[in-house]
């Protein structure tokens, strides 16, 4: 696979993840009494488990999986804590539904589980997932110009990330989106086969690159637009609420796995950029812009954008990206200063990745409107 193909696949995965996460979040918003907090949408690296890091230690998690049955292959898993599942079930009205009499044949479904949610609550959560993923499949079908059908949901309790990996067939690609629902963590995992990525990539290619202009940069962020006028506006409005990770990258290098742990304090790693080269700005893993590092008067790094993907007109001086906490513009004389890692560190400095080259903590993420 060429680097361009890899970029296209990542783009397709991000668009799929963003549109599905949005459909899920909107469905949850309609169900739950409190607003759903949207987290990151990320393409999970191939070597990582998309279920890793979920708080299984607090008790068995509820996983509802819904697979596609027509149009495309692959599937979705909605993972939530037991309290989260009960909260969603309550929001669906499970506690308001009259319990059946014990003699009712259907009541076998409704016996309380040994621990965690009752069968009726699990059924309510499964129905919620069914409604979410039906809407998500519809959004995906718009991108593919083909109807996408889903299978009935399958619900199970899982006590570890390893159990989740065993429960669901591994796929070459996975996309993860996080939410906080009724105060509880919730994760959407999309398990995506190669064939699905190829179809998405082809469909997006066919839609053309004209989306890069005039859509506020959503396409460059890996977020798909619909082509039908009324739906397009509604989807764009909804997508703008998605929180995305933004980081700047100074440069890269490669070292062998064996050499990395042996690096001593004081070692200097040369990166692949010159000191006066622009720095790249990434949004959810996609290169979105480049610019120059500047220092604010508070002594914080900021990035003044010079080039934005898909925009041919010059970027104005005021279009710089700054962490949200920085309120004032950089001083006029604040030019580019090479980051510490690119120069010889003091003898006791040791090697450490520059702060701006790593993923920012959750509190530092910004929305695309702030770019």
């Amino acid at each position: 696979m060429s680097p361009a193909d890899v970029a296209s696949a990542a783009d397709a995965l991000m668009r799929l993840g963003a549109s599905t996460a949005e459909a899920v979040a909107k469905s949850l918003d309609a169900i739950c009494p409190s607003p759903v907090e949207r987290g990151d949408v990320t393409v999970v690296p191939g070597e990582e488990s998309p279920f890793e890091g979920f708080p299984f230690e607090d008790g068995p998690a509820v996983a509802v999986s819904v697979h596609y049955v027509d149009g495309v292959t692959g599937g979705n898993v909605l993972l939530m804590t037991a309290p989260g599942a009960r909260a969603i079930a309550a929001a669906m009205g499970s506690d308001a539904v009259a319990a059946p009499p014990p003699s009712d044949a259907a009541s076998a479904d409704d016996a309380p589980a040994a621990d965690g949610p009752t069968e009726l609550e699990l059924s309510a959560v499964a129905e919620a997932a069914n409604q979410m993923f039906a809407a998500a499949a519809s959004a995906t079908g718009v991108v593919l110009s083909q109807e996408v059908e889903i299978a009935p949901p399958d619900t199970r309790l899982l006590d570890s990330a390893a159990a989740a990996c065993e429960a669901f067939d591994a796929t070459p690609h996975a996309v993860s989106a996080t939410f906080v629902v009724c105060g509880e963590p919730c994760r959407l995992v999309q398990l995506v086969p190669n064939a699905f990525v190829l179809r998405m990539t082809r469909a997006l290619d066919e839609q053309g690159t004209e989306q890069l202009s005039g859509d506020g940069g959503l396409s460059a962020l890996g977020i798909a637009r619909r082509t039908e006028p009324g739906e397009e506006r509604a989807l764009d409005d909804a997508l703008r609420d998605i929180r995305v990770r933004v980081w700047a990258e100074l440069g890269r290098t490669r070292v062998s796995l064996g050499a990395a742990p042996e690096l001593p304090p004081g070692a200097v790693l040369e990166l692949d950029r010159k000191a006066d080269d622009p720095v790249d700005l990434y949004v959810n893993g996609l290169r979105f812009a480049s610019g120059r590092l500047v220092l604010t008067d508070e002594g914080e790094w900021a990035l003044r954008l010079e080039e934005v993907a898909g925009r041919t007109e010059p970027v104005l001086a005021g279009d710089g990206f700054r962490p949200p906490a920085v309120a004032s513009d950089p001083p006029a004389d604040a030019g580019f200063r090479p980051p510490a890692v690119a120069s010889d560190p003091p003898a006791d400095a040791g090697f450490r990745p520059p702060a701006v080259a790593s993923d920012p903590p959750a509190g530092d993420v910004t929305t695309e409107e702030e770019i």
């Binding site: 669906m92 009726l120 059924s123 129905e127 059908e149």
Partner: protein, 119 residues
Amino acid sequence: MARVLVVDDAAFMRKVLTDALVAGGHEVVGEAGDGDAALDAYKDLQPDLVTLDITMPEKDGLATLRELVDIDPTARVVICSALGQETKVLDAIKAGAKDFVVKPFERERLLGAVEKAVA
């Protein structure tokens, strides 16, 4: 008042539908969780109306509807579907369904569809 057969693979939805129908003065004469069970129940119970989910294991709502209409061309069926299944709903209407409600639905919408279908 109509005698209704409720068909949905989700126990929760069967109860939501049953409670709403009973509250609206109808009698739920049976429930089924899949298409084959629905066809058997229809033959046994001869209900006035069926509420039918679309996404079900084995035999989905559309296939069930077509067989139901083969059995009884006068069968009254209201489709209950999730948002995003509009094409299936359209196919169901063409196949003989009287109306549809989109989940999640308001009780009044369900009762209105039922009353219109049995009128």
